[in-house]
């Protein structure tokens, strides 16, 4: 798989990314090595923003028949990507994060290949956050802007790399399906519309359809009523196209058709956004996807693999903490949680 571009960008940036900027101390992230845990701060760092981006506000919504899938006897290449970021610790100058990207591809002859890029370590400080932020904006051809608060920068950095990976995979297969983790909502707080639109153009030029699968999806009606899930009470597999009920404001930002999909009987329901290739319908892409990949609890297996190969385990975080402390001669400062001291044992 060809992902040299991401490598090249990071090589170009590496001096900036790993500059200690005179930091002397690191307060490492607290990790527990004896219990299983996996880390991807994306869900934590952008919880609020993600909810805003991925919430479907439905108007005039009512239950209709669930459409069934059709078997498609046509094999297409499929490719997926995911990225994970994790805060390694805080220095006296900023935040050290690690990012890893994974790309998983399945060819028409069923061969699965996994490419892992990283972990890349980045030390984001007040001194370099502007340069890093605008380097990527320039890369994507969007105007310079003020970077967000330092604490939000690790996730912005992850997001830029993930967007680069998404664009890269749009060109890596022909006439296939490109799977993204998340929605196809453009113009979000971290992703200007142009970035999504340009990537979708790349996909189109290669005859690919782009499918965004959101692990989380928030549904509510215009009056604020929450709907837990559209298909949870439906035992059969199928999908509902919810485009028509999405509020017009949100609809204008989503780059594709939106479905609530239950791929397998025992699986969960996911929000699936589809931007189809020229000449085919979103429903056909959905059927193609279901016929060409396996699912794990209703989630596309290739995306699952991408996720599995991106997230961090506690021992990896520990290793990266040692790496940065050694490389930058940083002194470990014991993490101190004031809440434990004032609220303990409750």
């Amino acid at each position: 798989m060809n992902s040299e571009r991401i490598d090249d960008v990071l090589k170009e940036l590496i001096e900036l990314l790993e500059d200690p900027f005179g930091a002397r101390y690191i307060k490492p992230r607290v990790i527990t090595l004896t219990e299983f845990d996996y880390f991807n701060d994306e869900t934590e760092d952008k919880a609020g923003e993600q909810e805003d981006d991925e919430t479907l506000v439905l108007s005039d919504w009512r239950i209709e028949n669930v459409s069934s899938f059709s078997e498609v006897d046509h094999v297409v290449p499929i490719i997926a990507t995911d990225a994970a970021s994790v805060k390694i610790g805080e220095t006296d100058r900023g935040i050290i994060s690690a990012i890893r990207i994974s790309i998983v591809g399945k060819s028409v002859d069923e061969e699965i290949k996994v490419l892992k890029l990283g972990p890349y370590v980045v030390h984001i400080t007040e001194e370099n956050k502007d340069d890093i932020y605008n380097y990527f904006r320039e890369y994507f051809g969007v105007p310079e802007a003020s970077p967000p608060a330092l604490r939000k920068m690790p996730d912005r950095f992850r997001n830029f790399l993930e967007r680069m990976a998404q664009r890269s995979i749009c060109a890596q297969i022909e006439n296939g399906i490109v799977l993204w983790d998340g929605s196809l909502t453009a113009g979000t707080i971290d992703t200007p519309r142009k970035i999504i639109d340009d990537s979708l153009d790349v996909a189109k030029r290669h005859g690919n359809s782009v499918v965004g699968v959101s692990k989380n999806s928030w549904l509510r009606l215009e009056d604020g009523t929450r709907i837990i899930s559209l298909l949870d009470n439906v035992s059969a597999v199928g999908y509902i196209k919810v485009d028509r009920w999405i509020s017009s404001f949100l609809r204008s930002r989503i780059r594709g058709n939106v479905f609530a999909v239950k791929f397998t009987e025992d699986g969960f329901t996911f929000r699936v956004d589809i931007n189809p290739a020229e000449g085919i319908s979103s429903e056909h892409v959905l059927n193609l996807l279901r016929s060409n990949v396996s699912f794990y609890n209703g989630y596309p297996y290739l995306l699952r693999l991408a996720h599995i190969n991106a997230y961090f385990t506690p021992n990896e975080i520990l290793a990266i903490q040692s790496y940065v402390a050694d490389k930058f001669n940083l002194i470990f400062v014991r993490p101190f949680d004031v809440r434990r001291h004032i609220l303990s044992p409750f």
């Binding site: 219990e35 996996y38 699965i112 290949k113 996994v114 890029l117 021992n315 290793a319």
Partner: protein
């Protein structure tokens, strides 16, 4: 290396195998400079640190075996991640305590004190350890090289004056160690009687290159072949030994044994104690008794171990090695009667000699359970040891050694044993628990040995036995020639 925790008399140490390495059996010095105190611990087990995240990594990796996974990662980061994944832990037994007095370290039994976590942990050089343990003493004997820093390991022959056990699987090198000890003792002027069940010691008087070259031990090694150049008169053997052989080895029943004893006493008084006179007198008894005694005397006569003319005496034989040496009693392929008469006569005479002030000597007994009765063991262990008959037992079947011998052992030379029950059985001889010696003993390759006991100040030391320049192997007849 970092000290993680202490559990009982063991400590757990974490280390990065890329930067440091420890081996099972290696000694660690854990020393706190600030308080001038430390401990010495011996690594008894090493393992990988089991972290849940690592399990996740491994499962992830294994589950994707059918896929090709390409990783493009900055090499430095990967190295650290690999380090964490491969981080090892070592379990070490605390064996001694170190104390600094006026800048000089001394070693003493562990009092239970442990250092803080931020102490230095480093491998303890074998020379330094052996110096602290004061192993060499006034009568140094080199046994081999320490496994880790390849330093010559000496013990003081003084500490072999007791019960010593050499055990290990066949081919592990225990007989070789027996010869090292024997020659070491001879070099210090000591004397020994070797019950050589495989004829492995009789050629020690020759160089390894061939039987045409004498070694420096030539005059000190006296090979004795029962029935050939080792034979005794009945008078010298004595009634007790003969009676015991006739009853226990040859199965003479009580009534016949009673008659035999009477006949013996009468003939002895008459001064005509020979096999023929015993048989003649037995013929005068009831037929069944006469036949029982005569048949057994015929068997004994056929061994050629008994002569009417002047026989050998232990006194005379010991004179030949008065300045140090060994009587090698070759028991290979000898019948049980010959073995019993030979061993019991020698032990019985030795006891008498020691009681009358004979200088102490060593008994080397290979696979002693083949020829020592329970009573004989008891006698050797209790009475004779205190009279100056020090013992070296060599066996590949440690469970055949009575437990009271094991418990009274002063030193054990432990070679590879693969059976847990064997290791549990011999553990008391080492004064260490089975948990300590099992992981070490199981991982010992041939000719590597753990020495522990008074000779090592009760500190287990692992060595590779030194080669000997003399002829050591027994001569086993082979059908196939070695290539």
């Amino acid at each position: 290396m970092q000290l993680l925790r202490k559990v009982g008399d063991e400590i757990i140490i974490i280390y990065n195998p890329r930067k440091e390495n420890v081996e099972v059996g290696e000694n660690l010095k854990i020393y706190d400079e600030n308080v001038g105190r430390g401990i010495v611990a011996q690594v008894i087990e090493q393992s990988l640190v089991d972290l849940t995240g690592i399990l996740e990594d491994i499962v992830r990796h294994e589950s994707m075996e059918s896929f090709s996974v390409e990783e493009r990662s900055p090499l430095d980061v990967i190295r650290y991640m690999t380090d964490v994944k491969n981080m090892k832990m070592a379990r070490a037994k605390i064996l001694k305590e170190l104390t600094s007095t006026d800048g000089r370290l001394s070693i003493s039994p562990w009092t239970g004190w442990i250092p803080d976590r931020n102490v230095s942990i480093e491998p303890l050089d074998d020379d330094e350890l052996m110096k602290l343990l004061n192993l060499k003493g006034r009568h140094p004997m080199e046994l081999g090289l320490t496994v880790y820093s390849r330093k010559p390991m000496y013990i003081d022959a003084f500490h072999l004056q007791g019960i010593n056990i050499i055990t290990g699987k066949k081919g592990s090198g225990k007989s070789h160690m027996g010869k090292i000890l024997l020659l070491g003792l001879i070099s210090h002027g000591a004397r020994a009687i070797v019950f050589d069940i495989n004829d492995e010691y009789s050629k020690l008087g020759f160089m390894a290159e061939g039987l045409d070259k004498k070694s420096e031990y030539y005059e000190k090694i006296v090979p004795l072949n029962p029935g050939e150049n080792l034979y005794f008169t009945l008078e010298y053997i004595g009634l007790d030994v003969m009676y015991d052989v006739m009853t226990t080895v040859m199965g003479l029943r009580e009534a016949s044994a009673y008659t035999f004893r009477n006949i013996w006493s009468e003939i002895e008084k008459e001064g005509i104690l020979t096999i023929d006179s015993l048989k003649d007198r037995a013929d005068e008894e009831r037929v069944q008794i006469a036949e029982a005694i005569t048949r057994r005397l015929d068997q004994i006569e056929a061994t050629n171990i008994i002569v009417d003319r002047e026989g050998k005496t232990l006194e005379k034989l010991l004179e030949r090695i008065s300045s140090g040496g060994a009587l090698i009693i070759n028991l290979k392929a000898k019948d049980p009667v010959t073995i019993a008469i030979t061993v019991q006569t020698i032990l019985s005479k030795l006891r008498e000699l020691l009681e009358s002030g004979e200088k102490p000597l060593w008994i080397f007994a290979e696979e002693a359970h083949f020829y020592l009765s329970e009573t004989a063991w008891d006698d050797i262990i209790t009475r004779m040891r205190h009279l100056g008959a020090y013992q070296v037992y060599l066996t590949n079947t440690p469970t055949a050694i009575p437990q009271n011998v094991i418990r009274q052992a002063d030193n054990i030379f432990l070679f590879h044993l693969s059976t847990q029950s064997d290791l549990n059985y011999v553990a008391p001889a080492s004064k260490l628990d089975a948990q300590t010696i099992v992981p070490i003993a199981i991982s010992l390759p041939p000719h590597r040995c753990m020495v522990v006991g008074s000779a090592t100040n009760d500190y287990p030391i692992i060595i590779d036995t030194k080669p000997l320049h003399v002829r050591t192997a027994g001569e086993t007849r082979l059908f196939f020639e070695e290539v």
